[in-house]
């Protein structure tokens, strides 16, 4: 019985899809795009749930991935490489947003960890919120979403890259352009903040 070629690609490991895409296999490339839609969407969503154009960002990342796939020297580092594309676009979008909201300073210095909750400031206030989405259920989820939204971008990005993407400190440092010590301290502070906010909702 002849197997449908697309079925073969559906079961192929990611690294094989990458290699085939690099050799001009369009079916492999399309499958690679499909395989990564969800994770790319998820990453952008959790970085900024209020954006109304997340689908466009997802499309842009996957298009850039397709165009640049041959430049990836080591297919084993595909996940790390894709996250670089995502993060770069996220930063580009942040810069555009900063220009539009020029009165709000991005250089708000961070005080040390023993300050209270009120000391934390957001870098950018989003003045246009999208309509409230129906959450996937619990009070806990709502609380987590709120807590993450209240984190400034540089804290949100490390927690998303770590807990959603599962990247190492070294990889996060390389992608965000900060040193490992800073990754470590930002993660610790982000987690402490989240822990504080959701503790009453945990069993």
């Amino acid at each position: 019985m002849k197997q449908n070629p697309r079925e073969i690609y559906k079961n192929m490991p990611m690294i094989d899809l990458v290699i085939k895409s690099q050799h001009d296999d369009r079916i492999a490339l399309e499958e690679l795009v499909k395989r990564n839609e969800r994770i790319v969407y998820s990453t952008f969503y959790h970085l900024d749930p209020n954006r109304v154009d997340i689908a466009d960002l997802v499309q842009e990342v996957l298009y850039r991935m397709s165009r640049a796939i041959k430049s990836l020297k080591n297919p084993k580092t595909f996940k790390f490489w894709l996250n670089q594309i995502i993060t770069n676009l996220f930063y580009d979008e942040l810069r555009k947003k900063t220009k539009r909201l020029a009165t709000i300073s991005m250089d708000t210095p961070y005080l040390d960890s023993d300050e209270g909750v009120s000391g934390m400031t957001r870098d950018i206030a989003d003045l246009t919120k999208a309509p409230e989405e129906t959450t996937l259920g619990s009070e806990l989820d709502k609380k987590i979403r709120e807590a993450i939204e209240n984190l400034p971008e540089q804290f949100r990005i490390v927690i998303v890259l770590r807990e959603l993407q599962g990247l190492s400190y070294e990889e996060i440092a390389a992608i965000t352009g900060i040193n490992i010590g800073t990754v470590k301290s930002r993660l610790a502070r982000a987690r402490a903040k989240l822990q504080d906010q959701i503790k009453p909702y945990l069993q």
Partner: protein, 154 residues
């Protein structure tokens, strides 16, 4: 058993310990302290529960948009334009190269072309010579110069 680390130091490193992003020795010291210290252990457990909740939250995504068709269409279009551009550039390069070869590169003269007796050569009639790259060029025998001068000489 006394631990090397203070509660302060342990708390400072709890997050990195959770990720096992510490040296083997540090992990050992941390584990030792957590076994012995109830306060720090409770902090660690609370941090771990937070991590589990956040990870679970991240894994619940509402349906992702299907963009693969759009991406491939855009990609295919760009590839098509790129190929057209490359073909046209290649053609232009070829044309330029031919023009340069014909007009700029001096053809070398075959010896047999100029072993005639100068008396028998009619200076007004062109002699056709083959150059190194097999282009046929017109040349004229100039008695005064004693050499062939070329029609398109610079």
């Amino acid at each position: 058993m006394e631990s090397n680390l203070s509660c302060y130091e342990v708390n400072d490193n709890l997050s990195a310990f959770l990720d096992r992003e510490l040296s083997r020795e540090e992990i050992g010291d941390m584990s030792e302290h957590l076994l012995a210290c109830e306060t720090c252990r409770k902090n660690y457990e609370s941090l771990k529960l937070t991590q589990i909740a956040v990870k679970k939250y991240f894994s619940q995504t509402s349906s992702a948009p299907e963009v693969s068709k759009k991406v491939m269409r855009r990609f295919n279009n760009t590839e098509r334009h790129r190929r057209i551009f490359v073909s046209i550039s290649a053609m232009i390069m070829l044309l330029l190269l031919s023009w340069f070869s014909a007009n700029i590169i001096q053809p070398s003269i075959e010896k047999s072309s100029y072993t005639h007796n100068s008396d028998t050569i009619d200076p007004d009639k062109p002699i056709y010579v083959k150059s190194e790259n097999f282009l046929i060029t017109e040349a004229y025998y100039t008695p005064t110069k004693g050499a062939l001068s070329f029609l398109y000489e610079n």
